[in-house]
């Protein structure tokens, strides 16, 4: 009855998800690379300085002397959009890096030591997490000033608790793993176990979340700027540019806030795509 000539039965599917994940990672990565290059080479890419005022007047339409026109202060929008990438990407990446370091440290200690150390650390984390972002931001700004470093600090403080929780949960499962017991019986010190075994293995979920988090950090920064709690004028920053230009949009002068808005959107999207892709890849690996 068997007919070897029968065409093979092909079950569809296969690795499409991985291809999509890779596409997400590539597109996201490409966006970020372009943004980073724009940030680095901003001075070369624009004739005007980011805070240079064109005496010819404000709200010049795009084209002519200004590629994207000028804003309400007579500053070149194109140049500002480019230079803003430095602040936005810089703050987002630094803040998330700081949050990862602090959060991971707390999570490692709390997860591994357990007991009252865990209780105390986690309650502190709870307190910080329950604290509203904007109030924290204003407090830091008011106490320490409103510079780059302090915004990094604020956004890091907002995000660190999540990492602490993530890493702690991870460590709590990992510390029951056979290889931790193996390390213990091999005479590893507590520091050795934390540093050599738990840390590298508990970072897996962090790696996926961090890019997504960078995107959120940029949005938080924009929100802070919108409320006047972010970077001070006239420093070029997308959030503050958007908020300065909101009424221009209503008047049909799109160029003051749409370009920074798009830049922000695209960069956040870049981070999101990257994060989503990494997540997808991690999920696919797990399946």
């Amino acid at each position: 009855m068997a007919d070897p000539q029968l065409a093979p039965v092909v079950i569809g599917g296969g690795d499409r998800d991985r291809r999509f994940a890779r596409a997400l990672i590539y597109v996201g990565g490409a966006i970020l690379v372009v943004a980073a290059l724009a940030a680095v080479f901003a001075p070369l890419l624009s004739k005007w300085g980011p805070t240079e005022i064109d005496p010819a007047g404000t709200l010049a339409t795009p084209g002519g002397a200004h590629l994207l026109g000028t804003d309400g202060n007579g500053m070149d929008v194109w140049s500002r959009v480019l230079h803003a990438a430095r602040i936005d990407l810089g703050i987002a990446v630094c803040a998330v890096a700081l949050a990862v370091v602090v959060g991971t440290l707390l999570g490692l200690l709390a997860g591994y030591l357990g007991g009252w150390v865990d209780d105390v650390l986690m309650r502190i984390v709870d307190i910080f997490q329950a604290f509203p972002t904007f109030i924290l931001a204003l407090a830091v700004a008011a106490l320490l000033g409103d510079g780059f470093g302090n915004l990094v600090l604020t956004i890091a403080a907002v995000n660190a608790p999540a990492y602490a929780r993530l890493v702690r949960a991870e460590v709590r499962t990992l510390r029951e793993m056979a290889y931790i017991e193996a390390a213990k019986t091999s005479g590893a010190s507590m520091f050795g176990i934390l540093w050599r075994h738990l840390l590298p293995n508990s970072l897996t979920p962090v790696r996926v979340i961090a890019p997504l988090n960078c995107g959120w950090a940029m949005l938080t920064l924009a929100g802070l700027s919108f409320l006047g709690l972010g970077v001070t004028v006239p420093t070029a920053e997308w959030g503050s540019m958007i908020s300065l230009g909101t009424s221009d949009v209503v008047a049909g002068r799109w160029w003051t806030s749409v370009p920074p808005g798009l830049a922000l959107l695209v960069c956040v999207l870049g981070f999101s795509l990257l994060g989503e892709g990494l997540q997808e890849r991690a999920d696919a690996k797990r399946r």
Partner: protein, 515 residues
């Protein structure tokens, strides 16, 4: 743009033509005027819901009507006149004025209100000091409709000060809510709107909306023209603009800058314009480095791009001014005022101070777009002259604190004097310890002139004094005067009767809507 309102007739069917809708940027902080600081929304509402005994009259300037600060007339009072020594002022109340509770306004209400103001030790108590009223005993009830104010000394400013201070509570009602712990019913007044003014508050949703209806218990002339006015809080200027364009609001009180120019071209919307005495300045602290050096102050005064600010920030809708006394104030003179935008002179002035570069922070109000823009323009030009400025927007609480401490080296101020008189200006801004003297400026000559002015009544003599004042100020340069922006108010075309308030506080009773 107005035609757009058709499709959403469901939303705007309610209010009849008898209703005016006004958008403001924030809700008032409290209904209790005795305990409110500088909150423009609140002060504006108070002008319309508290019974003020006297108020400015109305005069015409160009083709617009404006409040006449020189002419203060009784409104809820029959009369307010001094004795021959100008020390005892007699207030005669209008009869038949009713609070919302139905109680008639009596002298006892005035007395109770003034007692409360002194006890509050806040706003009114503060300015009463300038006209020699410091104790409750100085306010004496003569009969049901007569009250006397016994000042410690005569003052040329009594009418002006009383015009902003003589508001009255419904004391009969208030006493019902007073307790031992709270004898002045603060808690009750914090939540319940006052009554008895041109309007009564018929509904107030906290943070959201206030509905005013004309007070039928006001028997005097010039009653409210519109039966109902709705005031809604719309913080975003862009949002106010959209609603004005769509016809969902009639008056937008929170629109500034470029939007005003744009709205002039919008169908169904008109922008009321008038020259104002609103003065934009940079106050330089004469006691804090680096502006304690007059040459540094001069350098900044030369480095400010006056024309550019008028163009970039105000779209040429502001008047340049060349004196520390506002334009239109009696006695304005440009004599001896050398400053204009000139970077070479700025550098020279800085060099004269022995420095090549100075730096300072430039403080302005957070959330004030106009000040922010000015700051940006100033920063850019000052830098060219060797003055590095760090822009520092401050929230109200920090600004208030630092102003009290006089620790701000450089700050942008905008505002108009409620009394259009140089003596008042000196009193509030340039004598030692004056409330608005953020520069911490003092000059014995000015103090002398100021003292002399109290008793100088002759117009020409006063003018001479003022010329002297202006040349001293031009030499000492405690302030850089930037310009005097015109007043602009975007309204729907149907809005009529607007009287431009010289104190910035709209008198809504004049407003009407032509259907």
């Amino acid at each position: 743009a107005g035609s757009k309102s058709d499709p959403k007739s469901g939303a705007s069917a309610g209010p009849a033509a008898s209703t005016l809708r006004i958008a403001v940027s924030s809700y008032l902080s409290s209904w209790d005027q005795d305990f409110v600081g500088f909150d423009l929304t609140a002060l504006m509402l108070f002008k319309n819901v508290y019974p003020y005994m006297i108020d400015y009259g109305v005069t015409t300037a160009g083709d617009s009507q404006i409040l006449d600060t020189a002419n203060i007339t009784p409104t809820f009072a029959e009369s307010f006149e001094p004795d021959s020594e100008q020390k005892v002022w007699t207030l005669k109340l209008r009869q038949g004025v009713k609070f919302a509770s139905g109680n008639e306004m009596k002298a006892a209400d005035v007395k109770w209100s003034k007692d409360r103001a002194f006890a509050a030790q806040a706003n009114v108590a503060g300015i009463y000091r300038t006209i020699g009223l410091t104790k409750a005993e100085q306010v004496v009830v003569k009969d049901d409709y007569t009250v006397e104010f016994h000042q410690e000394f005569p003052s040329a400013l009594t009418r002006q000060i009383q015009a902003i201070s003589l508001y009255v509570f419904d004391s009969v009602e208030a006493k019902k809510h007073a307790t031992d712990a709270d004898p002045w019913a603060k808690e009750w007044f914090a939540k319940n709107a006052p009554t008895g003014g041109y309007f009564n508050v018929s509904k107030a949703t906290q943070g959201q909306e206030i509905e005013l209806s004309a007070n039928t218990g006001y028997p005097g002339p010039d009653g409210a023209k519109t039966p109902t006015i709705r005031i809604s809080v719309v913080p975003a200027a862009a949002n106010q603009r959209l609603q004005l364009q769509a016809g969902d609001i009639d008056v937008a009180l929170g629109i500034t800058g470029q939007d005003l120019q744009d709205l002039k071209k919008v169908d169904g919307v008109k922008v009321l314009s008038a020259a104002s005495n609103n003065q934009v300045a940079i106050q330089m602290s004469v006691t804090n480095a680096p502006f304690d050096d007059v040459n540094v102050r001069k350098a900044l005064a030369y480095a400010v791009p006056y024309e550019q600010i008028i163009k970039n920030v105000y779209n040429n809708d502001a008047r340049p001014t060349k004196s520390l006394v506002p334009l239109d104030m009696p006695g304005y003179s440009e004599t001896g005022y050398p400053f204009g935008y000139d970077l070479d002179k700025a550098k020279a002035a800085l060099a004269a101070s022995g420095k090549t570069a100075v730096s300072s922070e430039l403080v302005f109000e957070a959330n004030n777009d106009e000040q922010q823009k000015i700051a940006i323009q100033v920063q850019a030009e000052a830098a060219k002259a060797g003055i590095t400025l760090k822009l520092t927007p401050l929230d109200p609480a920090t600004l208030g604190e630092r102003r009290t401490k006089k620790s701000i080296p450089l700050q942008i101020t905008t505002g108009q004097l409620w009394v259009n008189d140089v003596e008042y200006m000196l009193a509030t801004s340039f004598v030692k310890g004056a409330a608005l003297n953020y520069s911490n400026y003092s000059n014995p000559e000015i103090e002398q002139i100021y003292t002399k002015s109290h008793t100088t009544v002759d117009d020409a003599a006063r003018k001479a004094l003022w010329t002297q004042v202006q040349s001293i100020l031009a030499t000492d340069v405690p302030w850089v005067i930037i310009c005097q922006p015109n007043f602009n108010l975007p309204v729907r075309e149907k809005v009529a009767g607007w009287v431009q308030p010289m104190d910035g506080l709209a008198r809504l009773r004049y407003l009407s809507a032509s259907a």
